[in-house]
């Protein structure tokens, strides 16, 4: 199971304030699908622009097919712009 962490705001909006979840998924696409099943509407939000995903400490700005290992840590974060 991957450990998934949402931002406070997303947790409040979609998950009744809960932000930490254990989800079984092999990649980002499946993970988002699973979260959307748990909290309808969250999937679209997680795929919207302006949200990045960190998998095991590495930040991806536009992930989709990135693999998720069995005990990966996955964080949904605001996307970063550089200067």
């Amino acid at each position: 199971m991957a450990q998934v962490v949402l931002s406070n705001e997303l947790g409040r909006q979609f998950a009744g304030g809960q932000t930490h979840f254990d989800v079984d998924a092999v990649n980002v696409r499946k993970l988002i699908g699973a979260l959307d099943e748990m909290f309808p509407g969250l999937g679209a939000e997680l795929q919207s622009d302006g949200i990045a995903i960190a998998i095991d400490g590495e930040i991806f700005s536009d992930p989709f097919l990135e693999a998720i290992a069995d005990n990966s840590e996955v964080y949904f974060l605001p996307a970063i712009k550089g200067g």
Partner: protein, 753 residues
């Protein structure tokens, strides 16, 4: 695919940049240098009011002026839906972008464009602007971030309702959103603490200050092709933004990057191109638009001014038990301050158990903020590093030791959640502590300040092509404007992989029709991500060279190795063949299948986080408040310095900008909401005599995700200087300085208080 174990011939050396001679002889073509036959001059009429409704615009008199060929107002710009879309470096609201480039119904800052003309000369264009009649209904304005957050503040947009607060607001507000992140319970941490520091801090908006004003030439051809030559941090960004705002297909727009005279984030967006395009379409002639310095200051992106509160508690041993920050960032006229990265980076250098950051994105009647080097990080870092410095003072600890005690390392959970991978923060602290400058004794009125800083660095999309010419020379096509010598570092990596002489590798920056998509030159990504694409394209070439040699020798490709620019049999068993050079194979490429071209298109993964630690020594004249920077030392983990000279240059340049931010740079608005210092005279960027030599130490903790270990270096060096300088001044005068800039009157007033 790593090269760490190999002996490197080019990477890590100081080669002369391929575009260098053109740049030292005045031959390089920047945005304003292009002249097309029949070209017109385009100029923009700007609002003198910080906040007003546009009641009417009458362009009849201007249009009647001989020599005026076209006029554009907001009515000529297609209506954009208010929605975020992925473009350039991230999400962009094109309605805001369109309105910022040409006001539609309301002006939101002094300098907001309201109309534009194209004419046969500057003089005619200027006269035409003076003949355009705009009737305004002036509205109350708000400049200060905290004023703008008050419930009775004039509201800029009646469509903005604060996101991220409960209950969902019913009234529109200037507070665009509230963000919060962190973990643990800071209050519980303070309970355990022996010392708690809590302070308010402010910083003023500062401009990127590139010396080249924005410039663009646009020719709308009779084939309905929109051709653009301009100075920007990304030709593909210009293409996407212009096409979107004008409702064009991307393939209709072709953008050729001119040389760029500095950007620092400020040229990751557009201001002129759609306007020039419309003027060109209307006039059937090419149009050149070049901003004056006054326009650059009034209407292009500074970064946010801020109001911040930081609280940190620690036990006597120096262990930080709890930390929190509240950050209020000015976005300017439309949403989009870098407050989220501010929240994410504020405490990033530290391993914390209890941390909380709350941020607010706030619109005010100032120009829309734009990215500036490590967007959002320097101000938050200033507040946190000042508080850490005060904590060290209270605890009687050396400020580097205090940081070492709490330093983030591989596996530390970052304040924004994930755990850091391989990082080199501790190494920068140790190198700073060991630097001789850290032990130079200080005299009266002198002070030493230390601060650390963090930036994520990014990867993103890059394309690269490596073409082998028949004579064995190599042409590399990159898709990123070269803002600071990146052609050199990219060509060096290609030469290294191919095993050919650096001088045999030519590199160009392609236009949008000649190279695949690239994200902008920004985010410290070019040497990392585009470098990775070029390495892969060169490896593609190497694979083809081995195949061609194998065909030539009639052996299996696995029996051919590529070493030092030669194909060789892998072992004696493979046969006895005279090694073939790249040139040998290229000369006969037709025989073995045709031209040898390598390419790669990637979404680069694994950008390595960067840390730096700076030491600043100052002397303050206690009677006048004048600050002299005596010496400055910047230590940074670069992962691997491909071209150490340009890495040092990035560090030194970042320091100079940060010191300017700390000491004198600021936007000064009058009561009337107009900018009072839109020029280099009164904006006061550092000049050569304001600074000492800037000593640099490059630490190399390789990024395992990059073949050469590159982390990216452009942004980290602007993060620590605000705190380092303010800490130095605070020690020199014996008063804690919490508001930037530390101008002489501010210092004298602190000393007299």
């Amino acid at each position: 695919m790593g090269y760490e174990d190999k002996e490197l011939k080019w990477v890590g050396t100081r080669q002369i940049r391929p575009d260098g001679v053109d740049k030292v002889t005045g031959r390089a073509n920047f945005g304003a240098d292009l002249n097309l036959p029949g070209m017109l001059t385009g100029k923009i009429l700007r609002s003198p009011h910080p906040h007003a409704k546009i009641v009417s615009i009458n362009t009849d008199k201007a249009a009647a002026l001989p020599g005026v060929k076209a006029i554009v107002t907001g009515a000529d710009m297609p209506e954009m839906p208010s929605e975020m879309a992925q473009a350039g470096e991230g999400a962009v609201n094109f309605r805001y972008l369109s309105n910022n480039i040409m006001a539609h119904d309301k002006v939101l800052y002094d300098g907001h464009p309201v109309a534009a003309v194209a004419a046969i000369s500057d003089a005619v264009a200027n006269e035409a602007l003076s003949l355009i009649e705009v009737e305004y209904e002036v509205l109350p304005h708000v400049i200060d971030v905290e004023e703008s957050m008050k419930p009775d503040a004039p509201v800029l947009h009646d469509t903005i309702f604060t996101a991220g607060v409960e209950p969902k607001p019913e009234k529109p507000s200037n507070v665009v959103m509230r963000v919060q992140m962190g973990f643990g319970d800071p209050d519980a941490g303070y309970e355990k603490s022996d010392v708690v520091i809590e302070r308010n801090y402010t910083t003023q908006p500062v401009h990127q200050g590139y010396i080249e004003p924005h410039a663009a030439v646009v020719e709308w051809t009779e084939n309905d092709e929109c051709r653009i030559w301009c100075s920007s941090q990304g030709q593909f960004m210009v293409r996407t933004f212009t096409a979107k705002l004008l409702d064009l297909e991307l393939a209709q727009v072709r953008v050729t990057p001119a040389e760029i005279g500095g950007g620092f984030g400020g040229k990751t967006t557009i201001y002129l191109e759609p306007v020039a395009a419309l003027l060109s379409r209307k006039s059937h002639r090419p149009v050149r638009m070049v901003m004056s310095r006054d326009e650059v200051f009034r209407a292009t992106g500074p970064t946010s001014g801020t109001a911040m509160r930081v609280k940190i508690g620690a036990t006597r041993d120096g262990k930080i038990q709890g930390a929190e920050a509240e950050l209020k960032y000015q976005a300017g006229a439309y949403p989009g301050s870098p407050v989220a990265p501010g929240c994410m980076t504020a405490f990033a250098p530290y391993a914390l158990e209890n941390v909380k950051t709350v941020g607010y994105d706030v619109v005010v009647n100032r120009p829309l903020s734009a990215s500036y080097r490590a967007p959002g990080a320097p101000m938050a870092s200033f507040a946190v590093e000042s508080a850490i410095d005060e904590l060290a003072q209270e605890l009687g600890m050396d400020p580097i030791d205090l940081r070492l005690k709490n330093a983030a390392k591989e596996g530390t959970q970052a304040p924004y959640g994930p755990k850091f991978k391989s990082i080199g923060y501790i190494e920068t602290l140790e190198a700073a502590k060991a630097h001789p400058n850290y032990n130079i004794p200080l005299g009266p009125n002198q002070g030493r300040g230390v601060a650390s800083g963090f930036w994520f660095n990014i990867g993103m999309q890059s394309s690269a092509t490596v073409n082998v010419a028949e004579d064995g020379t190599v042409c590399v096509i990159s898709g990123n404007p070269d803002i600071g010598g990146s052609r050199a570092s990219l060509a060096m990596m290609a030469a290294e992989v191919l095993g050919v002489d650096y001088n045999k590798v030519k590199i160009i920056v392609g236009d949008t029709a000649s190279i695949g998509y690239n994200d902008v030159t920004g985010g410290s990504r070019v040497t990392f991500a585009t470098g990775m694409a070029i390495i892969q394209a060169a490896e593609d070439v190497v694979q083809q060279l081995r195949e061609r040699a194998a065909m030539t020798w009639d052996i299996g490709v696995d029996a051919v190795v590529w070493e030092d620019g030669f194909a060789r049999p892998a072992s004696a068993n493979a046969g006895d063949f005279k090694p073939l050079s790249l040139a040998d194979i290229a000369a006969k490429a037709g025989r073995t299948g045709g031209p040898i071209n390598g390419k790669a298109a990637i979404n680069a993964r694994g950008a390595g986080a960067g840390f730096g630690t700076h030491i600043c020594d100052v002397e303050v004249d206690p009677d006048t408040g004048h600050v002299t920077v005596l010496r400055y030392t910047a230590v940074q983990d670069a992962g691997k310095a491909i071209h150490p000279g340009y890495v040092e240059g990035q560090m030194q340049g970042g320091v100079a900008q940060g010191v300017g931010w700390a000491l004198n740079e600021e936007y000064i608005y009058g009561e009337d909401g107009r900018l009072q210092n839109p020029g280099f005279l009164d904006y006061r960027m550092p000049v050569a005599s304001d600074l000492p030599m800037i000593d640099t130490v490059i630490v190399e903790v390789p990024n395992p995700a990059h073949p050469f270990g590159v982390r990216g270096v452009g942004e980290v060096p602007i993060v620590p200087p605000l705190g380092a300088t303010a800490n130095a001044v605070s020690h020199a005068i014996g008063k804690r300085m919490t508001d930037l800039p530390l101008s002489p009157p501010a210092i004298v007033s602190a000393l007299d208080s």
